[in-house]
Symmetry: C2
Subunit: 344 residues, 2 copies
């Protein structure tokens, strides 16, 4: 047991009030689709159920992995912006959240995470085997559910997106402890592992509202930039956040040898000596944290990563020019800004 | 490292000649669909490829997980028996084998298997993380491929079958070290984890050849009985087989606390003292093997399990009466018998 098992303590209040604030903001941003999102949640919960009491208990536990519901929200909002929200949107919103949930279940195995949203992760609770299988079940069932749409486009795009997501994650594992990883390759990894599912959700929302192909692609691109920014903010939180604030274990990415953007930036501009200091700090794990942060601050690497995230958010907003004077456009801009507000 | 890491040695020759004999039998049984099966294999290999050199290497390695190709063969033969083999059959044959491969990749994690088909398993080679993710990738991509059919029935049935398969496996994990597991519950587990994919493959073969619903269901039932018998034979091999003969590690099911049919039968008819002896032998792992085999022989529990398997095979054959004088019917009977020939 390392620092990962320590209880969240000091910042619980701060966390609670930050989480409350985020909830209030999201409630406002999701207002135009509040009723639709409730239907998505209902469907999501209905699909994560079972006649078998043991499996029902596990699935109910996993339901709570669902957090901000950003993917279904994007799907529904894109639908609303391009026409109207249909039954297809409700189905695919639930599918997006199921797929995301399945990846979280498997991610927790990969990360050996003990906590997820401040509760025991399912692998800590029921073991890795059950986590692998339940994740697989949710994947398979999500595909089955996606076939309930009026056309196969949703099933097609989501199965493709998931295949890409998994390959992004494989690439990440393959680059563990590769401290020569450069920014373009890093971006390729996060585009796969994180952004693809956002992008696909947004595009499908537009598609099922009958939007023109260029509008669908604009939403795909919006989701892609948003996902990139989201992941970079996650990288920042992983290094700078406190356990209680992020609701999962601390600094786990870098400790596990995943080079994230601030570190990649630092290494790209450090001399041999600086590089050695940073890698020693990384290897020291929790004990090296203060040293690593000092080094990364010295090159303004956190600032660089935050600016990159901001740049993607600006790109995301600009890309929606195709919507013209659509009344929901300001809302997509606010959602983009919300991703940045996760910054510490 | 336990006995699992020992190299297969003594029976390599026996294995090789048994494997050669099995290959010859299968070549004969698959003769009517040999060309179609080659097209399935070609498609399977094409789908398990990647532009990324690292991922391509992993996928090529995993391709060899494909063994007897019984699922695609059933699908193609059912198609041929009910009309003709179409492009849909080729696609779904590849999908069936991809799904099976994905479950093997994940099973090896669950079983902590070091060997698969006498080579290092992918998790032994590349780690559990990569195995989880590659399995997920293959699942997702298989669903994507299944959508290439002329209708969504294949995608629908296979996604449903996979969801059931995973739940069967979860139930098995939940019943690990449950030595009160009874035969009906055991059957429910193997119907899910093993038989469902055979049954679905056979049914889809009939469906895409335009067979009547009752014929489709007869094939489903045939596949189900075949799968049950196959799993029971697997259970027997797990206890009675030698590592070199089965190509994976030995007695791993019982060692890992999975009550299989011979043990369930023994426990159901043993007194307190006999039961205690058996459970002590199980807990002793490899060292308890001889004692366990002696006990299970004393109640003819292996014979009972083998008879059960034979019974399911007879049911499978009888169920195909619906085919009437179909010229392929004898071949389905031979395939059923082939499953029993795995007996030692």
């Amino acid at each position: 047991m390392t620092s990962k098992s320590r209880a969240p303590a000091v910042s619980d209040k701060a966390n609670s009030s930050a989480a409350q604030a985020a909830k209030r903001i999201l409630a406002r941003l999701y207002a135009p689709i509040a009723g639709d999102l409730a239907r998505v949640e209902e469907r999501y919960r209905a699909e994560l159920s079972s006649d078998d009491p043991y499996i029902a208990t596990l699935l109910e536990y996993i339901e709570d992995y669902s957090g901000k519901k950003l993917r279904p929200a994007l799907l529904l909002l894109a639908g609303k912006a391009c026409g109207k929200v249909t039954q297809d949107h409700i189905i695919l919103g639930a599918v997006a959240e199921m797929l995301h949930t399945a990846t979280l279940v498997h991610d927790d195995i990969l990360d050996e995470a003990l906590l997820r949203r401040k509760r025991a992760s399912i692998n800590a609770l029921a073991g890795n085997e059950v986590s692998v299988l339940l994740g697989d079940h949710i994947f398979s069932h999500a595909f089955e559910v996606s076939l309930g749409c009026s056309t196969t486009e949703g099933a097609r795009q989501f199965s493709r997106a998931m295949a890409i997501t998994c390959l992004g994650e494989v690439m990440q594992v393959n680059n563990r402890n590769n401290f020569d990883l450069d920014e373009p390759k890093y971006l390729k990894i996060i585009d796969g592992k994180t952004a693809e599912l956002y992008a696909t959700s947004a595009r499908l929302g537009a598609h099922y509202a009958g939007a023109a192909p260029e509008v669908c692609e604009a939403f795909y691109s919006y989701g892609m930039q948003l996902g990139r920014a989201f992941q970079i903010m996650d990288d920042l939180l992983d290094l700078l956040g406190e356990e209680a604030l992020v609701g999962k274990t601390l600094g786990s990415d870098v400790e596990k040898g995943k080079p994230t953007l601030p570190l990649i930036h630092f290494l790209s501009r450090s001399d041999k000596k600086q590089r050695a200091l940073a890698l020693t700090a990384v290897k020291a794990g929790a004990k090296g944290r203060d040293e690593l942060l000092k080094l990364l601050h010295s090159t303004e690497s956190f600032k660089y990563a935050a600016q990159k995230a901001r740049g993607y958010i600006e790109d995301a907003k600009r890309g929606l020019a195709v919507l013209g004077k659509n009344e929901l456009r300001p809302l997509f801009e606010e959602i983009a800004d919300f991703v940045l507000s996760r910054e510490l």
